[in-house]
Symmetry: D3
Subunit: 193 residues, 6 copies
Amino acid sequence: MTQTDAPRFPIPQLNALPDDIRERILAVQEKSGFVPNVFMVLAQRPDEFRAFFAYHDTLMDKDAGLSKAEREMIVVATSAINQCLYCVVAHGAVLRIRAKKPLLADQIAVNYRKADITARQKAMLDFAVKITTESHKVGEPDFAVLAQHGFSNDEIWDIAAISAFFGLSNRMANFSNMMPNDEFYLMGRLPKT
Amino acid sequence: MTQTDAPRFPIPQLNALPDDIRERILAVQEKSGFVPNVFMVLAQRPDEFRAFFAYHDTLMDKDAGLSKAEREMIVVATSAINQCLYCVVAHGAVLRIRAKKPLLADQIAVNYRKADITARQKAMLDFAVKITTESHKVGEPDFAVLAQHGFSNDEIWDIAAISAFFGLSNRMANFSNMMPNDEFYLMGRLPKT
Amino acid sequence: MTQTDAPRFPIPQLNALPDDIRERILAVQEKSGFVPNVFMVLAQRPDEFRAFFAYHDTLMDKDAGLSKAEREMIVVATSAINQCLYCVVAHGAVLRIRAKKPLLADQIAVNYRKADITARQKAMLDFAVKITTESHKVGEPDFAVLAQHGFSNDEIWDIAAISAFFGLSNRMANFSNMMPNDEFYLMGRLPKT
Amino acid sequence: MTQTDAPRFPIPQLNALPDDIRERILAVQEKSGFVPNVFMVLAQRPDEFRAFFAYHDTLMDKDAGLSKAEREMIVVATSAINQCLYCVVAHGAVLRIRAKKPLLADQIAVNYRKADITARQKAMLDFAVKITTESHKVGEPDFAVLAQHGFSNDEIWDIAAISAFFGLSNRMANFSNMMPNDEFYLMGRLPKT
Amino acid sequence: MTQTDAPRFPIPQLNALPDDIRERILAVQEKSGFVPNVFMVLAQRPDEFRAFFAYHDTLMDKDAGLSKAEREMIVVATSAINQCLYCVVAHGAVLRIRAKKPLLADQIAVNYRKADITARQKAMLDFAVKITTESHKVGEPDFAVLAQHGFSNDEIWDIAAISAFFGLSNRMANFSNMMPNDEFYLMGRLPKT
Amino acid sequence: MTQTDAPRFPIPQLNALPDDIRERILAVQEKSGFVPNVFMVLAQRPDEFRAFFAYHDTLMDKDAGLSKAEREMIVVATSAINQCLYCVVAHGAVLRIRAKKPLLADQIAVNYRKADITARQKAMLDFAVKITTESHKVGEPDFAVLAQHGFSNDEIWDIAAISAFFGLSNRMANFSNMMPNDEFYLMGRLPKT
């Protein structure tokens, strides 16, 4: 890792973890070639680990409605507002891969209003940002805009839930000084050869 | 329910729910005498329901470290910042019961700095509030203050995780127009007779 | 009193007060069964006491226009923004009694947008909140919305003046560490028997 | 008057006012050479007029403690935050006269941290600004700073009360589109000849 | 100078300056009767001085499009937001002279929404303020409003560029503790005799 | 260019530009292999172009004091606050190259508090951020912290001036819809081969 500061809480040993957690981590490692730090930081509390990833998977691995790239757009926009280094860098990588657009994640992280996305996707991110910053003011006018862009109730719930869940994730990463693995920074930036 | 606006998303029928979810809801009903609306609103998505309550239970039902009343203080302070009516009212009720102090929840909901709690508990809520409002600025000086008040690393993680989790919960309740059941408003306000 | 901290300024002795102030306080005590702390805290400065309550009475005891419950809604919404424990709790009690709705004060204190009030009353509170947070931006579009809801010029002045006056009250209570009497917390929550 | 917009509420006729109010207004006119608009705007509601000026006089005409110039400094700093044109211009004039410093009001209106005042006066304005912007966070550390600068409890109350009272005044002036009389702009800027 | 604090950085000697800078300063002195402090503070870095005034002159000395008074309105509104004492006072003086309206600068400095200017000029200042406070949100709706008021593309660029340039100037003056010369405060306030 | 929106203002033809500007642009093109869009957007106003780059060069091409990588850190941190896509991406590229650290720009853009930089560099960015967000509060305590980290007066001026200048640049890029060239996104991310 590049960061100057160590993670604030001790990282558990892989072989000391419960079987289900160790197996998930090994599966990720096999698929990605490395273990994203979020797995190791959260593994020190197995029950939170299980709930966190169950929540994550049900929101992010869905096939219907929002595309997987759109889900990652929401994550990056939310995480940028919360200034979460881990989530912007790690999910920026996933967004680049899912969207097959190497520039998109940086654009959304800095100012999604200038990003190379559709007007419908900007409305989606406007709503995600409002969930993040002032959910107490969300009301019918917001839903009306989303409906005009053709979002279903299920998609609207997904936008809100992804933004809300990553608000949690951002706070945990910020607080625990979770650092993105070096591998994420370059992923999805180069054309496949 | 008292609210003028219906919940934004259709409430599922209890007998159409998966067994585990229906059973959890019936158990709550038996214990409390009513079904808190959060169960019915979230039940329309069983996997999110399961992840949400697994996360909730591991953070809130723990015996070691922070007392159960202290955990509820964090919920109320966080939810007040996020202006979440459901969570302030429902967890205010739980806080009154757990702390056996009928005035405490209202005090924390309005301004925890004036509440009848210890200096240590105010430091706990200062940290929870910082997690809620600017987690990107959390750093060593914050941990030093917590350490001076004798909080362990495990307790610090709990404060942060409870605040982060209820940030998620607040956003879901605000967005879905989740209303507190009428029963919560009076719970814990009267002396047991 | 429940609070851990004493009021910051010495509370005067009732019998050392000027006659008119002592009489007002005794009258309140006879009517309410206790002396709300605001009377004792402000009584240490008789001229401010007299001006404060003269201002209060002319705004709050009026029969025409806004109902007395609506006036208290404005107080609670304003005081919640200013995080004034005394005013939210004390006027929350009065609001419950005036509106004969035991849940209303808590709803308005947390997020009036979710409260069980009319659209007209929400417009009234939108305006009160704007007076509280950015009165320098109030202008014709705000008055136009109020006119659409049928508010007269006199009622508009009342909304603004009540919000402005309780902004003063909130600051005095916050600064002087004025604590709500325990009696307020439960008032108006129980059905009359 | 210079303003393009008329005051929002009808200005009463002087001879239609109650005697005590008309007499106060005539006395001001005799002393100042003109009637400050605040008198005419507020006179449409005699009871509010009386309470407002009673409050004003007891806070601003006191001889002990803070100097009259210092009281006006608090008014100008508070009114600048609330972006109240009437109060900054009218009380800026009074401040110039009271302090016998023709440049001071403009300095405090723009940024009191750069004004030609003492460190003690800057601490006084720091406190007034905190009362104005976040009175719910005022606490012992603030009082300790004031005590270090030698402020008595009575003076501290005055700072808070003046700031709170003019917060009310600022909101009433902003809302009612009260415009400063042209005469105020130049008052106290020229050496007496 | 009136200020209590000296400028933070040493003021260079006029005769130690490069010829072009000294000549510009002497020309200003001849025209104005004094040397505005901004010249002396910036002169300690000749290349920045030259770039600053070249930028200033191309934006402020243009004859087409916005009037010179309108350009100064933008400067005063921008500088008031940034709480820059030097720029509000010095450019307030220039605005009074350019607009031949002795009250205008104080009005714009406190709250341009109440100033004696046209609706078109208020739209101009709305845009300047948005450039100053949230330029990342500027978009087509903003340009549409400006177009409705008849602003050309060239004028829109000027509004943005003047606001952006004085944002720089405000920060340099604030940071370097640059104080307005006493002469500015009264300039343009008196009728020519 | 990838962006969906065209730049708001017409891009001039290279051969229609004044000689000095065309030559500068051709020199950049020869060195970089492409013409950064900032040159073409600003070239439509030659005098602003010249002042802008003169200011830029004197602040960024200096050899003494702050390293060139440190100057770029200030640019990236400032531009991230102002949500300027062009400046974060373009100067992020320059920072990666100057610092020879491919991960650094992303870290500073999201949250410099977590970046792999020294405590001295964090103090430098704390100051740059304060210049950007509340320069009116900058004062002796800020300078004392910088002095503790060994910054000279000249270096302090550079931090402030770079932050102030790029605040101007950010506003111009945001307003004119200036988009970063695609080339910037990947620059400095790969090891030299």
